[in-house]
Symmetry: C2
Subunit: 374 residues, 2 copies
């Protein structure tokens, strides 16, 4: 059977210590029994993790990079088990971080990958060049018709995607089905006037037994995509939706509740892995993440590594669209253009809501500023 | 409507800075728009988070404790939205940690809580006094009949619960349905000989669209509980299962992939909150966590805070069973008895697998050592 491999950064004083830690990980992530009790034959030869390579991580960061290979057999065609092998129990240890993954036939066959990605979203939105734009309707507490009006105005102003705030679920002020109808209608009405192709993207994160129902409801009612928060809803939801040709809607991933996964430099995942490679394996088409210089602490370099993870060659999977958000304002457009160029989707929420009285005009100004034809 | 509140630890140089941060959180976790754009009336009065209290956290740890209240309306009867409000986007910030929650009518009505907890598990296992014991069948790569034999021997040796290793899913070496049958049969056969009530607890973490099917399959085939890894499968799965009276099996929660949620003292959740209070809201009956002094870095004090979170008075929810695991050995029994007394479930995996040739005898010795009647 095939094997995939994961590269971990390990904090360790010297190579013998790093090697010992790496061999511990190879055990922990697979058989989880003491080394001398691993059954000879198939379990030892195939299932047990195998340390393939270990080397210093370089002078700047210190520590070591260890590449450990795992069996497709162990993964057993199960995406959560893949994640369990990649970083299950070892996630609870410090001084270990997931940096990279080398794919296998088993992963390529399990993970269909993004159905649309950047090329598919360009085709659907008609934005052949330049950045795509996405706004968010909010806050929670508005009625379905008020939210539908916001969606209409954003679409009329030229936004390509209009997504729910991630806090919109099924509150009594704007129940999911009412909001879905109001926003789809609002966006369609705007499209009829502009001749555009704006799309509404409802948040389907919700009760475990209703997530797929909401996804299909969105599809049937004419939404142009769905948004899921994998750290809350579970990491297999997007993969299952992306793999279903009958479903066939773009998927936006939201980072809420995922923070601790990448917030310190010596635990969790690298930004590039978590917001890039992992999202592509999950079949996500566009990934929301906190922009540098906003309300969150990500650096420019970390954000650029996310773009790399989203768009570098990776098992033939389509490149996907990084969507930096969180405190974007009009003033920051030039800086973001310089940092990201055309490769990202601009997510603008609060800064537009501020212009509520003139939302259509404000959206138009932003679109013009971002596309550089202002 | 009712309001619940969350207490956050905030790293801040002085009270004005802490207050500013707390007010930012109140915005971020609810309306997520600039303060001066929050609509007056219902949104501002009800939905917007409200800073109720702020005070120094005490000299030892520094920083501040801020209590922020939120509306049941915002939660909208959705558990993932509750978690989203508690720590959604703010999870991506450093120097903020979730410490405590004050319940509301809305939460009490949404979260049925643990169906069994410690009293229910005592009744089902017949262990009226002293610690309950749980072992794990492993490693991945053994056949269903080999795993069934391990389950049989553990049960014959007096273990109360026999759970799957969390890496066992639906691998071809031991497909879920084959393993379920072999292990239920093995445990039943042992019970017939001992007159005991040992129970098999399969891992139902798996593809998003199959998790509930596997739970029901486990129920129908005679399993005595199910195990779920919420950080992989999603945080609403256990709540949904616990709330269903037709299901009615105990639920064991596994910490795999959750590590980053509590691994640093200034991000994520306190151990007490994550492994205690949150699990009870999720309807979990027993929670596996890494024991102090084993392969993971949790301290004795952190582990004792987990026991507190599992068993303190909390909204009338049943106390649940903390199950420390990860490197437990025979030698550590006295130390663990001293630290935990009778209030926990001992999870012993690898140390027993080592005694595979005499698993029944080894299990008996361990049971005797733990129960103090050796």
């Amino acid at each position: 059977m095939g094997r995939f491999s994961v590269t971990y950064w390990l904090g360790a004083a010297d190579e013998p210590e790093a090697r010992t830690r790496a061999l511990d990980i190879a055990l922990e992530q697979t058989v989880e029994i003491p080394r001398d009790t691993v059954p000879a034959g198939y379990v030892e030869d195939e299932i047990l993790g195998r340390l393939e390579k270990i080397e210093p991580a370089g002078t700047e960061r210190g520590g070591f990079l260890a590449e450990i290979s795992y069996s497709d057999d162990d993964m057993g065609g199960d995406f959560l088990q893949l994640l369990n092998i990649v970083f299950g129990n070892s996630s609870i240890k410090a001084n270990i971080r997931v940096e990279d993954i080398r794919l296998s036939e088993g992963i390529l066959s399990l993970c269909a990958g993004p159905r649309f990605g950047l090329p598919g979203l360009r085709e659907r939105t008609g934005v052949d060049n330049g950045p795509i734009l996405m706004s968010a309707i909010k806050p929670v507490g508005l009625s379905a018709s008020e939210l539908g009006r916001l969606a209409h105005d954003f679409a009329l102003g030229g936004m390509d995607l209009v997504k729910d705030d991630h806090g919109l679920v099924d509150q009594r002020t704007a129940p999911f089905s009412d909001r879905l109808k109001a926003c789809v209608d609002g966006v369609n009405e705007a499209n009829a006037r502009t001749g555009g192709r704006a799309a509404y993207v409802p948040n389907i994160t919700g009760p475990a037994m209703q997530i797929f129902d909401r996804a299909w409801m969105a599809k049937e009612q004419g939404a142009g995509g769905v948004m899921v928060a994998p750290a809350l809803a579970g990491y297999d939801v997007t993969r299952a939706l992306a793999a279903d040709p009958e479903f066939g809607l773009p998927i936006v991933s939201h980072p809420t509740f995922s923070g601790a996964n990448m917030i310190t430099p010596t635990t969790g995942f690298s930004h590039r892995f978590y917001f890039g490679l992992l999202q592509r394996l999950m079949g996500v088409d566009a990934v929301v993440y906190p922009n540098f210089g906003g309300r969150f602490g990500f650096t420019l370099k970390e954000c650029q590594s996310i773009v790399e993870g989203c768009q570098m060659e990776f098992g033939g999977y389509k490149p996907i669209v990084p969507a930096p958000g969180g405190g974007m304002t009009f003033e920051r457009v030039p800086e973001m253009r310089a940092a990201y160029g055309d490769r990202v989707m601009y997510l603008v929420g609060g800064a537009l809501i501020r212009e509520k009285a003139n939302l259509v005009e404000a959206s138009k100004r932003l679109v013009a500023a971002v596309r550089g034809d202002a």
